[in-house]
């Protein structure tokens, strides 16, 4: 089974830390020394209960302020599957961390307090999940114990969510009633939720099918590094190393190299485990070609009749990340897209997205941290690019501030306007 990387979003108040603690504890993934440490710190601070958020809040400043500042990674495994939890801060001012944490997630868990139902934060997190193209969403209606495990209440929240989410691009949404505190329907089924016929949360996580989330149709192989041994034994070896970003490459396939447009044929696929007949998305391999072409880092190998767009003017959703500098439209940024770096300038800011209600606002000033906006981008060289909705790898980029080296913004490419 493939590893599942999932993001948990929401605030401490929704019971997120308790849920993670419960998943780790009930699946026997918390180690004794970690629990001892958490118990000792909770006791010293005079807490009434063991604060499981101390497991994930790793930095001194986080423990002092009692909030999660940065994405934390937690690892656990069941006999069936291994998991990475990307625990994302829920506070409004940490939108950028949620964007970071969900950018690589296969699945996101959003928590709703059963007493409060769908609130602004739920909407905000759902919109970001949709924007980042997370393939699977689990809406956990938590604290069911505080609403007498009411089926009506659960159904009402589900209906509210669906009414709002119909405007979003969420492909696969699952609703689960749980109580993280009591452990109902997290790892074990619950007598109090007998009316619920769906799976437990852990069962769902163990079985959610992610192999079809990758784009297996459009062959995209960004060349990362050229391997030339320059030894007597491998004198003529010239391999193009990289990670398959889309499609399946096979020995014997006709290919074209972009942006040069030169064509050739795949004569071999080398991997760490020896030669392969085919390479699927995510594989780190080395491609050998029949012809001696000039291919360098930043080029892309694809099929002759299925090419990405090769253009310099782009539409994108941009999330501003830099806390120290706002967008400067006069400035050139380094844009990194797959293995290609070029310089870029932001043209027009068409609108700023209000992530609590999808409202499009006229920008009131330069973009600053946590702003999400639709912009136009002009690049010094063409990008070999797909739309983000078709391929998360070839549809995403970052902007680097050349004066500070900071990661200024993250972008998702949209279809060009006709």
């Amino acid at each position: 089974m493939r590893q599942l990387r999932f993001a948990t979003v929401g605030s401490v108040d929704d019971g997120k830390s308790t849920l993670i603690g419960r998943l780790l504890y009930d699946s026997k993934s918390i180690f004794e020394d970690q629990l001892e440490h958490v118990e000792a710190v909770s006791k010293r601070r005079g807490d009434d209960y063991v604060d499981l958020s101390l497991l994930t809040d790793g930095l001194r400043a986080e423990r002092e302020q009692g909030i999660t500042i940065d994405v934390a990674h937690r690892y656990f495994a069941t006999p069936k599957r291994s998991f990475v939890i990307m625990d994302c801060p829920g506070h409004v001012q940490y939108t950028r961390n949620m964007v970071t944490g969900t950018s690589t997630a296969d699945l996101a868990i959003i928590l709703i307090d059963a007493r409060h139902g769908v609130v602004e934060q739920t909407r905000r997190h759902s919109i970001l999940t949709s924007l980042l193209g997370v393939p699977h969403l689990v809406v956990c209606v938590n604290k069911m114990d505080l609403v007498d495990y009411s089926e009506d209440r659960f159904n009402q929240i589900r209906d509210d969510f669906e009414a709002f989410a119909s405007r979003l691009q969420l492909r696969d949404v699952t609703f689960l009633p749980i109580s993280a505190l009591k452990g109902d329907n997290v790892v074990e089924r619950s007598d109090d939720l007998k009316w619920f016929e769906g799976p437990t949360l852990l069962h769902h996580l163990e079985n959610v099918y992610t192999a079809s989330d990758e784009n297996k149709i459009d062959v995209r192989f960004p060349v990362q590094y050229v391997i030339r041994p320059r030894t007597a034994e491998h004198h003529d070896y010239r391999g193009y190393a990289g990670t398959v970003a889309g499609g399946v490459l096979r020995v014997g396939d006709d290919i074209v190299v972009l942006p040069s447009g030169l064509s050739s044929r795949i004569t071999g696929i080398d991997s760490a485990d020896g030669p392969l007949e085919e390479a699927v998305p995510g594989s780190a391999v080395t491609i050998l070609l029949a012809d001696d072409l000039s291919v360098t880092r930043g080029d892309m190998i694809c099929r002759p009749n299925n090419r990405p767009r090769v253009i310099q003017d782009h539409d994108a959703m941009l999330c501003w990340l830099d806390s120290n500098a706002q967008l400067n439209p006069a400035k050139l940024y380094t844009l990194k897209h797959t293995t290609r770096s070029t310089r870029a300038k932001i043209g027009e800011v068409r609108y700023v997205l209000d992530i609590s209600d999808l409202h499009r606002k006229t920008p009131e000033g330069p973009l600053s941290m946590n702003d999400i906006a639709r912009v136009t981008v002009h690049t010094a060289e063409p990008l070999l690019r797909d739309d983000y909705e078709h391929n998360r790898v070839t549809g995403s980029f970052i902007l680097v501030d050349e004066s500070t080296g900071a990661t200024a913004a993250a972008g998702m490419l949209l279809p060009p306007r006709e």
């Binding site: 590893q3 004794e32 497991l55 994405v71 934390a72 760490a272 680097v400 990661t407």
Partner: protein, 294 residues
Amino acid sequence: MRPGITGLEDEAISIIREVAACFERPVILFSGGKDSVVMLHVAVRAFAPARLPFAVMHVDTGHNFPEVIDFRDRCLAGLGLNLTVASVQAAIDAGKVADAPSRNPLQTVALLDAIAENKFDAVLGGARRDEERARAKERVFSHRDTFGQWDPKNQRPELWNIYNTSHKQGEHFRVFPLSNWTELDIWTFIKEHDIELPSIYFAHKRRVFKRGGMLMADTEFLRPEAGEDVYEEMVRFRTVGDATCTAAVPSTAGGIDDVLAETAVARVTERGATRADDKISEAGMEDRKRQGYF
């Protein structure tokens, strides 16, 4: 992502190749410990049939288990690689640091000196996020300022698999290709690829004594104090570092399958079980890392 350990190796190879493409003078840290052994093997596999385009460096506290140094030299000879040693003893002799009972924190000085001296701009380490809670917060490509310091509150966001490798003269990056591996993944890889490790990772008879709830080896670098009884016990090491602060665990796991079985049911983290220096304070690792530790 491909299933199992293959998917994790794909990710590590991609990170290692990005280092080769984006940096002028990368170095890979190698101590002979299991994580660095796995990282080195993955790195060699990432560039085959070409040679590894990185320097290899050991930050040597001088307080070593002889089995580990012997293994280190044999392993590198087998791979045809040369070793640079950054010596804590040399830093002490030069008066840069004062010697201390545990030389573990002193490694920072020797490491930063060697980075400056060799103008290394990327330093690959085998650290994993599951080891310790400060590590759980660290980026795969982790920026260091000209003093080699880590600023955990001001880390560059890391999105998708696009790594910001921008650095100015004198700054460098620490890069952790095994960030998403767990202790069990490391052992699984070692078994699948039949990788040799220092013998002390497997159960053997050793003279030990108890200190602070841990089982310390009786070596020339660490002697029992009054009241600490030395006795013989079947033990193995889960981590291998400076002999003065790395503890053994009681174990009869003599082979890789036994170790895998033990790791799968372990109830204490490897650092909790074996690293005396992490017990000093709640933020022991964070504080050391800020100053430039691995």
